[in-house]
């Protein structure tokens, strides 16, 4: 299996993010200007940034598989932290919506919450083995 160095991983991640930004900008431009009327095509365009999403998913999985055993452990611990923290935060907000009238939020907020928790989990896990 190809071993992804930190630099190779960062380069590929940057490439996928650039593609994501391009697809997002392009699809939103076409949709917002009503240049695409056919619904299936509008849906496909609207979802097109997720092509880059899949690319990033497989990149991260490849990074995990090519990491050594301690790095895998750190990644697993940080993802576990992110998984649990996101559950706690989103559930808490859901309960606040029901009980305290917290405003509706877009599903887009779930990933920033999980990504932030992943980052925090990574810092915590890294420090355990320094």
């Amino acid at each position: 299996m190809e071993i992804l160095s930190g630099r190779a991983y960062a380069t590929r991640l940057a490439m996928w993010l650039v593609l994501y930004a391009g697809l997002l900008f392009g699809s939103l431009t076409l949709i917002d200007r009503n240049l695409v009327a056919w619904l299936p095509l509008r849906v496909a365009l609207g979802l097109s940034p997720m092509i880059a999403g899949f690319g990033i998913l497989f990149l991260v999985m490849g990074r995990y598989r090519s990491a050594d055993e301690l790095q895998q452990k750190i990644m697993a611990e940080s993802l576990m932290f992110a998984f649990g923290a996101t559950a706690i935060i989103t559930f808490s907000y859901g309960f606040l919506q029901r009980t305290a009238g917290a405003p509706e939020l877009s599903y887009f907020w779930v990933w920033p919450v999980m990504g932030s928790a992943w980052l925090l989990g990574s810092v915590i896990a890294q420090r355990r083995y320094e």
Partner: protein, 103 residues
């Protein structure tokens, strides 16, 4: 689990990066092993043993084998280690056959 990896590496005048390269792991992993914050898998432990041409029980030892002493139980810098160097009196029989490395 305790180990004498740092001493063995120093004997060969390797940097952590050198050892990491030999083992195919990151320098961070070598550091975590040397500071005993991470215990290697059995395959990695065997790889380390092969690299230093020593049985893994001469490199890794658990607290039970080594007693309560804060120092490693073996004179790692003396070279030519024998299994008896690893054991404190009275613990040989009970520890023979046990793997000192977690899978």
């Amino acid at each position: 689990m305790r180990n004498c990896l740092r001493v063995l590496r120093a004997e060969r005048r390797w940097s952590q990066a050198d050892l990491a390269g030999e083992l195919g792991v990151s320098r961070q992993t070598v550091n975590a092993l040397e500071t005993e914050k991470y215990d290697p898998s059995l395959p990695l432990a065997y790889k380390i043993g092969r690299l230093f041409a020593r049985p893994i029980e001469e490199i890794f030892f658990d607290g039970e084998d080594a007693g309560s002493s804060a120092q490693p139980a073996i004179p790692v810098s003396a070279g030519g280690l024998s299994r008896s160097d690893l054991q404190t009196p009275g613990t040989v029989e009970s520890s023979v056959g046990e793997s000192p490395v977690r899978p």
